[in-house]
């Protein structure tokens, strides 16, 4: 059965292996059977030196978004998504953190890796990983969201069979550990007039973004650990930049170089890509911070409701501008709203779990969540967002997500 949320199941999940007397809601006079696992020794203590999920969870994996236009180009330029419909709490397991790669995952020997800091600094410096790890360290919980998450601007590209993995899977959350970038830059000595910092990755795209020095000196980190262990190769091993609240691609992975200058460098990733076309033909540029947003993860697209009765509606909310102050939930498509409970901890630039008890009577329902952040900004409807951006935007969609619970209990993407 589907773990701790018996109300919702992945469609097609087999009930095979479950003894009939254990099926919920059906009274039985038979004694509960003794589980076979109690009658013999389990797997050896040292059988799993690095533990993995239970074999029956093998379907909880990253994958590309459904749709031909979302498949990787030549295998290495693409993205895979976090399966939020199968996750609980706010932390994304390291093996399920989304990735978006421009040239695949490089293989880097940490003892060979170097970080070069140069440009408008008093002392150009080269750091080894060992040297970086000697700085005072800091750990913080933050979400990371790709600016291309939730591609709902162009209606023709939206699919009703998309799950929350397809719609919101370019979002993850982890505890990140590293050094404050401000401390590293202070070692080099930032010269007056340095207003921008080029960050460059050591992948085959040499991915580069220009970052305001004000952000670099504020809350930016150079990270080597994620959820307590070394970064996974797909997350930038051995070193990545992390910019809390900023669009994901600016947190450059496999970081090898930081160069300070007076002006932005106008790289491909801040001109040709990661800019958004406005209705008047101009393009919005340097749109860094991810705005307030939320999504119901249970029930959500692709899940089935099962029998009528009590359910908990559950989801995640976040804002790149601060904390989540409030999440409202609607079961009637936004006609009426109720305040959801926010699960502690509620942290700055971090996912917040919200919950609302719900008696589902059976029959159709249109579920939605609407978040408000600590700046007072409220998540907009899709219509309101499109009225501002036009249909040719590609990035920073943060509209209210609708899930249609159908009469047959199947849940579909109603965007």
């Amino acid at each position: 059965m589907k773990r701790s949320n018996p109300g919702f199941s992945r469609r097609g999940l087999a009930l095979g292996g479950l003894a009939a007397p254990l099926l919920a809601g059906r009274a039985s006079a038979q004694a509960l059977p003794v589980p076979p696992a109690m009658l013999e020794q389990g797997a050896p203590v040292e059988a799993a030196p690095y533990g993995k999920p239970a074999p029956t969870e093998a379907g909880v994996v990253r994958r590309s978004r459904l749709g031909a236009e979302n498949q990787p180009i030549l295998g290495t330029a693409g993205s895979t998504l976090t399966p939020h419909g199968d996750l609980d709490g706010i932390i994304t397991p390291n093996g399920l953190h989304f990735l978006r790669h421009h040239a695949g995952t490089p293989s880097i020997a940490p003892e060979q890796h170097r970080l070069l800091v140069h440009g408008l600094v008093e002392r150009p410096l080269v750091f080894t990983m060992d040297q970086l790890r000697r700085f005072p360290t800091v750990s913080r919980l933050h979400f990371l969201e790709c600016s291309g998450n939730t591609p709902f601007f162009q209606q023709a590209r939206i699919r009703p069979d998309w799950t929350v993995q397809d719609t919101h899977g370019l979002l993850s959350c982890a505890e990140w550990t590293g050094v404050r970038l401000a401390d590293v830059l202070a070692e080099a000595g930032v010269k007056p007039g340095a207003a921008w910092m080029l960050a460059e990755g050591a992948d085959a795209a040499g991915l580069t973004r220009s970052i305001p020095v004000a952000k670099a000196l504020d809350d930016a980190m150079l990270c080597w650990a994620q959820n307590g262990e070394a970064l996974r190769p797909e997350q930038g091993y051995p070193l990545r930049l992390f910019l809390p609240g900023y669009e994901g691609n600016t947190s450059v992975k496999w970081l090898r170089r930081l160069k300070l200058d007076t002006q932005p460098f106008m790289t491909r990733e801040e001109t040709s890509k990661y800019t958004s076309l406005m209705p008047d033909g101009s393009a919005k540029q340097f749109n860094f911070t991810m705005a307030v947003k939320s999504v119901i993860t249970r029930p959500s697209g692709g899940q089935t409701m099962g029998a009528p009765g009590f359910r908990e509606i559950s989801g995640i909310a976040w804002s790149g501008r601060g904390t989540v102050r409030r999440v409202e939930v609607s079961t009637d498509g936004g006609a009426t709203w109720q305040d959801a409970q926010l699960q502690a901890p509620v942290l700055d630039k971090c996912l917040t779990r919200f919950r609302l008890p719900w008696q589902w009577q059976g029959g159709p329902a249109l579920l939605a969540s609407r978040a408000t952040d600590s700046t007072g900004e409220v998540q907009p409807t899709r219509a309101a967002l499109l009225a501002e951006t036009g249909p040719f935007h590609v990035y920073h969609y943060n509209g209210i997500q609708l899930w249609q619970v159908q009469a047959d209990g199947n849940v579909r993407n109603a965007y």
Binding site: I73, A103, R123, G189, V213, R268, L277, A283
Partner: protein, 177 residues
């Protein structure tokens, strides 16, 4: 914007305060000019970072056919692996019902094209082209967009001086000003 500017100014003052100070932790090793030269591959919009040398649109045609056409199409338009890999066409389409974003219609700086090709292309062998080859293939893509004649020679000065059609099409948010 005003608040952002103030924050930036305050940050710069703080940074300036650090500048004269001695390093606090004594970590890191001084980077020599020779070391920096090995990795310093970025190109700025004003042309800083462009290497010596020159190329030609004519030489770029053969290089393009050899290294680029398979994914981007024989002329950077039809035949691209996916629409996002189109390099040419679309000028004047940004305000239309079917905007087509290419080097010619959208990219604000020709220097960005050189920088990106140098660091990331050809897809199967990044950083493999010589400076002369990079100038040539950059020139050829600009030629495919009608921005350089077939007999053009390309070098650092001419690339930095080339004014792209959408040069003034970008509006930075308050965070980027």
């Amino acid at each position: 914007m005003r608040i952002s500017g103030l924050v930036a100014a305050a940050a710069l003052l703080l940074a300036a305060g650090h500048a004269g100070a001695q390093p606090r932790y004594g970590l890191g090793t001084p980077a020599t000019a020779e070391q920096v030269r090995g990795w310093d591959i970025d190109v700025r919009p004003d042309g800083a970072g462009l290497p010596p040398g020159r190329g030609s649109v004519a030489a770029g045609a053969g290089l393009y056919a050899q290294h680029c056409a398979a994914c981007h199409g024989p002329a950077g338009a039809e035949g691209a692996l996916v629409p996002a890999l189109r390099l040419a066409g679309g000028q004047g389409s940004l305000r239309s019902a079917r905007p087509l974003l290419t080097v010619g219609s959208y990219w604000p700086y020709a220097t960005t094209l050189f920088d990106y090709v140098r660091r990331a292309m050809p897809f199967n062998a990044p950083q493999s082209l010589t400076a002369e080859e990079l100038y040539s293939v950059t020139g050829y893509v600009l030629h495919l967009n009608g921005l350089l004649p077939a007999d053009a020679v390309v070098d650092a000065a001419s690339l930095a001086a080339l004014r792209m059609p959408n040069r003034d099409g970008f509006r930075p948010t308050a965070e980027g000003r």
